[in-house]
């Protein structure tokens, strides 16, 4: 039990947490320089590092007062950080492997700030029960309701997510472009291995590098997502949404619904073919500080009907069923001109290399001499066709809709995204009209919001300027009429 105003310290395991990567790196270097004076210096550096973090732990105190949390560090670089409960956006608990070994949890406190949205304001390690108790106490300050440490498990989630759902999410929520690039590297790696087997020489480094890039671009993110969202649970109590997930590192996240600035319903190409979609929320102040996706996921890739049901039950504030309109006929002209310019640039860029390749390869005998001279022009033609098809799909799918409280943009020829936004969360509106768009009398809108990664913007397709200007006008009308409640929306 923490007494208000009492100075406490983090759990000593924070010394291990903070110094581990540095110690491992230095220890590795010690083995490389074994028997030399450098090794002695490196060993001294390890001791110094441990002492540094020990001193930092020893001289850092935390006070949980009635109105604020005060983190104070009395080292050479003194620091005093005051976090009033009124400014705290979320308080989350997560546990990594080191935490599990020591029976601790990491308490992350985030404030409402666009400038430091990606980094938690305070990361504190405590004994597990103490961290849960503190999270519960702070939650009571923030949301007006306490979370009993074991209560989380008793709440029935709105939708259950099986390990198969998590694996499907991990594999198919990665963007199609990323999958495409990863596949290209995989194909190149296989090709290199195949040709090296054919010639009898061993595969050179190219195959391995391509394979490593494939792992980094495709396999790594998928595995990371599976580990992160294993045992995924989401539920809502009152005005607060709770998320729990994680295999190696476990996450417990909660935030008020009023902190949600926008909802994104996302479908990658493969997910669309499987009739699945996932939901992300734009919430400021949920930084995990671990470099992973900062946007909280409210629903993993799940069939569209379940996703819709979860959306309606979890965030009904972002469902109003407003109608959406497709881009007007005039937009077709702009998109066609853009596609023509892109294709022309592509053809011009490929013309010179095509002639060069033709001259160099035309004399090669056999099938290579028949195919290679035309490979580049054919690839260029295929790319131009892809641009035209993407333009057609983009015209067909891009939508814009306005309702009483919400408005939405639908974008994405390949990976589709529906962004539903509340007028009261709009910070700024920009409408742009390029020379071609002016010719056809359409414009594009860009709405600026406070997002999980700080400031972010969402763009529309081509619509009449007056239609897009209605967004800004509605924002202004809501402020003027008092419909906008600054108490709920101020950041």
């Amino acid at each position: 039990m923490v007494v208000p105003g009492e100075k406490i310290r983090c759990h000593p395991s924070i010394i291990v947490e903070r110094s581990l990567s540095g110690v491992v790196l230095l220890a590795f270097l010690v083995t490389r320089f074994e028997g030399t004076p450098v090794a002695a210096v490196l060993l001294a550096a390890i001791v110094a590092l441990l002492l540094f973090y020990y001193r930092q732990w020893k001289l850092t105190t935390i006070r949980f007062n009635e109105a604020e949390i005060v983190v104070e560090r009395d080292t050479l670089f003194k620091m005093k950080k005051t976090l009033p409960y009124t400014k705290i956006a979320s308080v989350n608990v997560n546990r990594g492997i080191i935490n599990r070994l020591f029976g601790t949890s990491r308490l992350q406190i985030n404030i409402n700030s666009g400038s430091s949205a990606t980094v938690p304001e305070a990361v504190l390690t405590f004994r597990r029960d103490l961290a849960d108790e503190l999270r519960s106490t702070i939650s009571e300050h923030l949301y007006g309701q306490e979370i009993a440490p074991d209560e989380d498990k008793a709440v029935e989630p709105l939708v259950s997510f099986s390990p198969v759902d998590v694996i499907i999410h991990g594999l198919f929520s990665v963007s199609t472009y990323q999958t495409f690039v990863g596949s290209l590297f995989l194909a190149y790696s296989v090709f290199e291995l195949y040709t090296s087997m054919g010639t009898g020489f061993g595969a050179d480094g190219k195959a391995l590098i391509s394979l490593l890039i494939f792992v980094a671009v495709q396999v790594g993110p998928s595995i990371s997502l599976i580990l992160r969202y294993y045992n995924y649970r989401v539920y809502r109590r009152g005005e607060t949404i709770y998320l729990e997930h994680g295999l190696l590192r476990t996450y417990k996240t909660s935030f008020e619904v009023s902190r949600v600035n926008a909802i994104r319903v996302k479908q990658t190409l493969i997910a669309r073919l499987m009739h699945r979609s996932c939901i992300e929320a734009e919430v400021v102040g949920l930084a995990s500080g671990s470099g992973e996706s900062l946007r909280p996921i409210l629903c993993l890739l799940k069939d569209d009907a379940t996703q819709q049901r979860l959306l309606e039950e979890l965030v009904p504030e972002f469902v109003d069923g407003h109608a959406r309109e497709r881009q007007p006929e005039e937009a077709k002209g702009v998109l066609l001109v853009r596609a023509a310019i892109a294709s022309l640039v592509l053809v011009l860029a490929a013309a010179y290399p095509s002639v060069y390749v033709y001259r160099e390869t035309a004399a090669i005998p056999g099938i290579a001499g028949t195919v290679l001279p035309f490979a580049l022009p054919l690839a260029t033609a295929a790319a131009a066709l892809a641009i035209c098809y993407a333009t057609y799909v983009s015209y067909r799918v891009t939508e814009f809709g306005t309702g009483a409280d919400l408005f939405s943009f639908v974008n994405g020829a390949v990976d589709r995204e529906t962004v539903v936004m509340n007028y009261d969360k709009v910070q700024m509106v920009r409408i742009t009209q390029g020379p071609v768009a002016r010719l056809f009398g359409v414009a594009r809108g860009r709405v600026y919001l406070l997002s999980a990664v700080g400031g972010a913007s969402v763009s529309s397709g081509y619509f009449a300027g007056s239609r897009l200007a209605a967004i800004g006008e509605t924002v202004m009308e809501r402020i003027a009429s008092g419909e906008y409640d600054w108490r709920k929306n101020s950041v």
Binding site: E66, A67, E68, P84, Y85, T86, G114, H141, L142, Y143, G144, V284, Y352, Y356, V426, Q427, M428, V429, R430, I431, T432, Q433, G434, P435, R438, Y448, L449, L450, S451, G455, A456, S457, G465, S466, A469, G472, E473, V475, M476, I479, A480, Y484, W486, R487, V491
Partner: protein, 197 residues
Amino acid sequence: MTYPGLVSRRTPADEGSPASGTNSAANGYRRLNWKCMLSMYIGHATLYLLLLAAYILVRSHAQGFLGFYYEPVMYAFTVLLAIVLVYTMAAPPVFYVRYRYRITDDRIDVRSGVLVLRHILVPIERVHQVEISRGPINSILGLAEVTITTAGGVATLSYLEVEEAERVAELLNSLVGRMLRERLSATPASLSGPAGD
């Protein structure tokens, strides 16, 4: 409350053209001082000289590095130089003619652009910070830039005369301050926050 000269009362969104003449206030819009063109010409010329230096360097030293791409790259560079030169010459007057801004007691409204026209609307309610900055060229010409920061992005009023920039910043600060004071007076102490009360 009125704000003579600089700000107009709440006005509906309009697509009207700007008033002719410097700082004329038809539709409440204001225009820039002609010195903005001079500042732009100097800035553009500096960048153009840098581009020209890069062109000369590439032409004289990059033949071996670029190999068979040398010729097409040089053609493309020449075309780029020509396009940038035309833009450098033509953009400042177009920018000057098209740029207009309006500050009412509830919004900041900026219309600008040379090739791409932009219309930016920032509700005063969303303004977090106002900053005046001056680069070396603008300092010589007595111009300044007002950067308006919201939680979601930044809007800029460019090439304002220093006095005008200071008036704009002061006005915005007073509008935001007034709004906050109104809120404080309208809010009972118990509603000032969910905690700590």
